[in-house]
Symmetry: C2
Subunit: 363 residues, 2 copies
């Protein structure tokens, strides 16, 4: 293990795409989709051998911190960085950079997600080690995901010429970042073979990313500098509370990556990555039974039932399905979702209606 | 009102075709499918003007009697006839005939169901009055339902020549009863126009039906005679308990109607009768909204939802449906049924599985 290498887990997301299981009080990273462990626990567990718990930082918001800490008590309390309120991924990276620079000016940080699925964890660890090597040379590294279908839900990264081989894997200079495309452009990019999905996972040296903040997001950099001054003093919390509300929400992709210098992509082939962005994506990550059904936590009787997901959390009731195909059925204590696989993305419409109706108890 | 005319409501059925709402402890006649009233209450209410509460008998089993009595307290306690155990509709009729013969040897009895839907209640009352007139002349009257589709779920009655007009409605001699047909025969009978569905509602004089029992079911008649002897004594309950277990279960249709003399059918056109035999039948009796949905008792958000039934009883939870069509969703406190309209008849398969697994708490 490299003592200058740190993981930064972004675990502050709300996320309602897995409603009714995910709620404000139970964000996606706290869900137990695959068994006994939460997505957050899975995300930490797969870092074993690359990062000690002491070298794992978690950026979250105040009201999630206590629950997350229970999930992995070995991570020291001071490694939890609390945003007073969410301000986009740029400020998450900035906050972690400020903290790490104080702790280790030579630090490399791997910005990782808390709520994604990765099939081949061994490969993921090799990618992280390779990315550290690339980052040490002063590059901003992004992990690319080899696209498997013309997704309109992800951003794309255009690969340029090779940037060398690391841990047996080829890295490439990045020509450009493309925002979420329409269907036609998604097909073109998939066919060309020159594009990877933007995974939202980045690896860089703290000094390099702070340099890019200074150059590309000077306003945010000024605020981070102010925070840095207060960091090792009793004024840290006060500074955070004062500075954070004034930050304009921005993503690291738009704020930095699209304009940064020396950006390298490390494509991950066959990683089995999935952002579990909607209920239908569970069919890509959980093995189905012989009828194509996935039954999680449910006391279920299926008659003529195929291609369906039956998920029970909290109600304990018997669920009987008859003659249904490609259906998603999520049964929680106070809400029940029944939708077709095809319309799983529209869960957000239901959540919008609940917001409009101010039904806080269900959000 | 005719003082010699009595209604006999058969309310002892179990019935699991409306599972998970209907259970052993909550049989179909106790369900509130159409609002605040149970099917039993609806069945009694539509008799108003034809039968006083005092002239309404209810045949049921012991463990249902108390709950039924709460439903309509005006019916005297002694009008409840309790079978020690169900023994088919022939013995139900026999029990009622024994009781009525003691009370009024000139009685006519209308055997009616407790769990069917009738749209045109005014017409139903006219039919009952006409049937009484026909029965007084010594005929066994059956109410026929004009078929609206080639059902394979009902028995059919073959009409013969006219038997006169009563209350402006034509009655016919019955040529024969046909058991539930296959699809091809159902089509032929529908096309011929000479057949009515067997509604299971009958009207006859007590002396006439007892005469047919003596001729066609002598064994049962012997037992009924024995019961009759004990009826007005303290030995009634003992006699019932002793006699009933020895009765062979038989339907009145098979035991009597198919072989009886002087059988007359009174066809009910446009009665809007429905036996509510499965969840999909609710679409025939409850008006749907503009999307073809029927929402009963449910806190429901529907997005792209059409032709579906969402029924909530007891859970109170929010139900969200997205992108579903022709779906039936029955949410009760301890069980949830999701099936297509098309497969609503297969609910019995689920109930069979529960029986096999001895899951009494769900039956």
């Amino acid at each position: 293990m490299n003592e200058h290498y740190f993981a930064v887990i972004m675990a502050g997301g709300g996320g309602t795409r897995l409603w009714p299981l995910s709620r404000k009080s139970r964000p996606k990273q706290m869900l137990r989709l695959f068994g006994e462990h939460t997505l957050f626990q899975v995300a930490i567990h797969r870092l074993e051998g690359v990062f000690d718990p002491d070298h794992i930082l978690v950026v979250t918001v105040a009201d999630q911190a206590a629950k997350l800490r229970e999930q992995w008590p070995e991570i020291p309390a001071e490694n939890y960085l609390l945003e007073p309120m969410p301000r986009g991924t740029a400020s998450v990276v900035g906050l972690a950079a400020v903290a790490l620079q104080k702790r280790d000016p030579e630090a490399t940080m791997a910005i990782l997600t808390a709520d994604h699925f990765i099939q081949d964890e061994e490969k993921f660890r090799r990618l992280l080690i390779a990315a550290d090597e690339i980052a040490r040379q002063g590059n901003l590294v992004t992990l690319g995901i080899s696209p498997t279908y013309p997704s309109t839900g992800y951003g794309y990264i255009h690969r340029g010429k090779t940037a060398g081989e690391y841990q047996g894997m080829e890295a490439y200079e990045v020509l450009s970042f493309k925002e979420k495309p329409d269907e036609a452009n998604a097909r073109l990019m998939l066919q060309s073979g020159d594009y990877d999905w933007n995974s939202g996972m980045f690896i860089w040296r703290v000094d390099r990313i702070l340099g890019e903040f200074q150059r590309l997001m000077p306003d945010l950099f000024g605020k981070l500098a102010e925070l840095s001054q207060a960091w090792d003093t009793q004024a840290r919390d006060e500074a955070l509370s004062r500075i954070w509300p004034a930050i304009k929400s921005e993503t690291i992709d738009y704020g930095i990556m699209e304009k940064a210098e020396r950006v390298v992509v490390l494509p991950a082939k066959g990683l089995g990555w999935n952002d579990v962005g909607s209920w239908d994506s569970l069919f890509d990550v959980i093995p189905a039974d012989q009828d194509g059904n996935i039954i999680v936590g449910a006391d279920h009787i299926g008659i003529g039932t195929s291609g369906s997901l039956v998920f029970n959390d909290g109600s304990g009731r018997l669920i009987v399905t008859i003659g249904v195909k490609d259906l998603v059925l999520i049964d929680t204590g106070d809400a029940l979702l029944v939708c077709t696989k095809e319309s799983a993305q529209q869960v957000r419409l239901a959540v919008s209606q609940l917001k409009k109706a101010n039904r806080q108890e269900l959000l």
